[in-house]
């Protein structure tokens, strides 16, 4: 029982991360490596700059119904800002150039945080009420884990409804499939791309919140670890395919947790090597990903 919840909640993080990457890839053919740093940034936005080990809280004491929108807005805002300031200038550049630009941007964000907060992880207690365990089918599961899973599922439904039911969602799906054609039908390129960045940034912030609440620490590196797995999930899922990203995210989460439990003790430190091995196998047999995305037409 505990294993299932572990797998689902880790999978949730990967799925959310992979979605954030896939959304931007869909409309811009950009693999955004700065995504992980948006995750960290949205959590550090809750504190005053300091180098102490204890976080000097600025907005972290807000009640949850203000805290959550605040963090999501920070993530969305930073993400949109990075589009306007950086990526917009590279829109006609080739994908490799854009990717390098995203690396650079990630470094800028990371070093900006380093400068303000130093590299020491900070303990921060966010929503402490959530660490109590709850009893489910006789197993004691941390409430936070249950909430993580439920929130992820809720977000997936909300995102699906947004994409399927709203005009903006329709324009985004059309643009992800064939950007030029969408523009020839009057779809505004900048609006769609900014929308994708905003959604992606909010998803990153959600990951940051979950991580910080789970571990009780804020670490400048916290985004990077999730990011790597999330990035792999987008590739396995089929770059640009949103359902694929979600599915692969959960699969990777499950694989990590299952290997953690079934591998002999001695082999556990090499868990990630086994996970990556499985990834390579998947890519050998399905190089286009589990669910191939439509529309490989050139962007803008």
């Amino acid at each position: 029982m505990q294993t299932i919840f572990d797998a689902l909640s880790l999978g949730s993080l990967y799925a959310l991360g992979a979605l954030g990457i896939a959304l931007i890839f869909g409309v811009m053919r950009l693999v955004n490596f700065a995504h992980g740093d948006v995750i960290s940034f949205s959590i550090f936005a809750l504190m005053w700059p300091s180098t102490d080990a204890m976080a000097v809280v600025f907005a972290g004491d807000l009640p949850w119904f203000l805290l959550i929108p605040f963090v999501l807005a920070v993530g969305a805002g930073l993400s949109v800002l990075s589009e306007i300031v950086v990526f917009r200038r590279f829109r006609r550049a080739n994908p490799a150039t854009m990717m390098i630009a995203s690396f650079a941007l990630g470094f800028v964000i990371r070093y900006f945080l380093l400068m303000l907060f130093s590299s020491r992880p900070k303990s921060i207690s966010l929503l402490p009420a959530l660490s109590q365990p709850v009893e489910i089918f006789g197993a004691r599961i941390p409430l936070l884990q249950v909430i993580t899973i439920c929130a992820t599922i809720a977000m997936l439904f909300a995102l699906t409804a947004f994409l399927k039911r709203t005009r903006f969602g329709l324009e985004m799906r059309a643009a992800a499939e064939n950007f030029t054609m969408a523009r020839m039908l009057g779809v505004r390129a900048n609006r769609v791309i900014m929308g994708a960045f905003a959604l992606s940034g909010a998803l990153a912030a959600a990951i940051g919140l979950i991580l910080a609440a789970q571990t009780g620490t804020a670490d400048i590196q916290m985004g990077a670890a999730v990011m790597l797995m999330a990035f792999i999930a987008t590739v396995i899922g089929g770059l640009g395919s949103l359902p694929g990203a979600v599915l692969a995210g959960f699969l990777l989460g499950a694989a990590s947790v299952v290997m953690q439990t079934v591998l002999p003790i001695d082999a556990r430190p090499f868990r990630d090597a086994f996970v990556y091995g499985a990834v390579i196998l998947v890519l050998i047999f399905r190089p286009q990903g589990l669910i191939a995305a439509r529309g490989t037409k050139e962007r803008v």
Binding site: L170, A174, M181, A182, R183, M184, L185, G186, V187, R294
Partner: protein, 244 residues
């Protein structure tokens, strides 16, 4: 009054000059065919008009405004709707969603939703097959049905001018007939201006109207399609000079 005016349009891809000094004007309500063999530069010209590949030189005016170098979405919003070569349906969207993508450009106007709904019914009246399959994925349609879909999709934006690149490409002759029948009817019904690219001049001569013949990036002939008939210049354009 001229709706579309091109002057001295030159289009380059790197060192290759695909279109050289092309100029013509198109009057509101007119039908113009642009014909010519492979590589004549017809598609390049349409893409320049739609703002997808801006010309290296020259000027394009539409509805009284200079649109040279404007973004495709701005040009579309001014009432110039382009149906590109190869059709480009959004394959993962349903037919109805495909039709609705372009209606958002009127979102600032009052009653745009009800007008979009009326427009949708009009398109379904014109192409009943689309209505029957409105909720299935557009990627599953046959070539002819996709052609109807993209023409319908262009109509949904309520344009003043539709530019269509090779509507007959890959279609059986009787399907092509159907598509043209609908186009001609729509044009009479809505005072639509049509700019149609075709490789062969047969369709232009069948339908009538004005025809521009291109070859090697330049305009060779510009005049009445039927009068051009089987002139020597026509033959020369397609089969090369100096053979006889």
């Amino acid at each position: 009054m001229s709706l579309l005016a091109l002057s001295n349009i030159t289009i380059r891809y790197g060192r290759l000059t695909a279109v050289r000094n092309v100029a013509f004007t198109l009057t509101e309500g007119e039908i113009l065919f642009i014909t010519g063999p492979n590589g004549a530069g017809k598609s390049s010209l349409l893409r320049a008009i739609a703002g997808v590949t801006p010309p290296a030189g020259g000027r394009i005016d539409f509805a009284g405004a200079d649109i040279t170098g404007r973004a495709p979405e701005d040009i579309a919003r001014m009432g110039l709707s382009m149906v590109p070569e190869g059709r480009d349906v959004f394959g993962s969207l349903t037919i109805e969603e495909n039709l609705l993508v372009g209606t958002g450009m009127h979102a600032r106007e009052r009653n745009w939703r009800s007008r979009a709904a009326t427009e949708l019914e009009a398109v379904y009246d014109t192409f009943p097959i689309l209505k029957d399959r409105r909720h299935s994925q557009a990627g599953l349609l046959s070539g002819g049905q996709q052609q109807m879909l993209v023409i319908g999709r262009a109509l949904m934006t309520n344009p003043r001018l539709i530019a269509i690149d090779e509507p007959s490409l890959g279609l059986a002759p009787n399907i092509t007939d159907q598509v043209y029948e609908r186009l001609i009817a729509l044009r009479a019904h809505r005072a639509l201006t049509l700019l149609i690219v075709e490789q062969s001049s047969t369709r232009a001569q069948l339908v009538g109207g004005r025809m521009i013949l291109m070859r090697g990036g330049e305009v060779l002939l510009d005049g009445d399609a039927r009068a051009m008939g089987q002139s020597e210049a026509m033959q020369a354009a397609y089969f090369g000079y100096g053979d006889h």
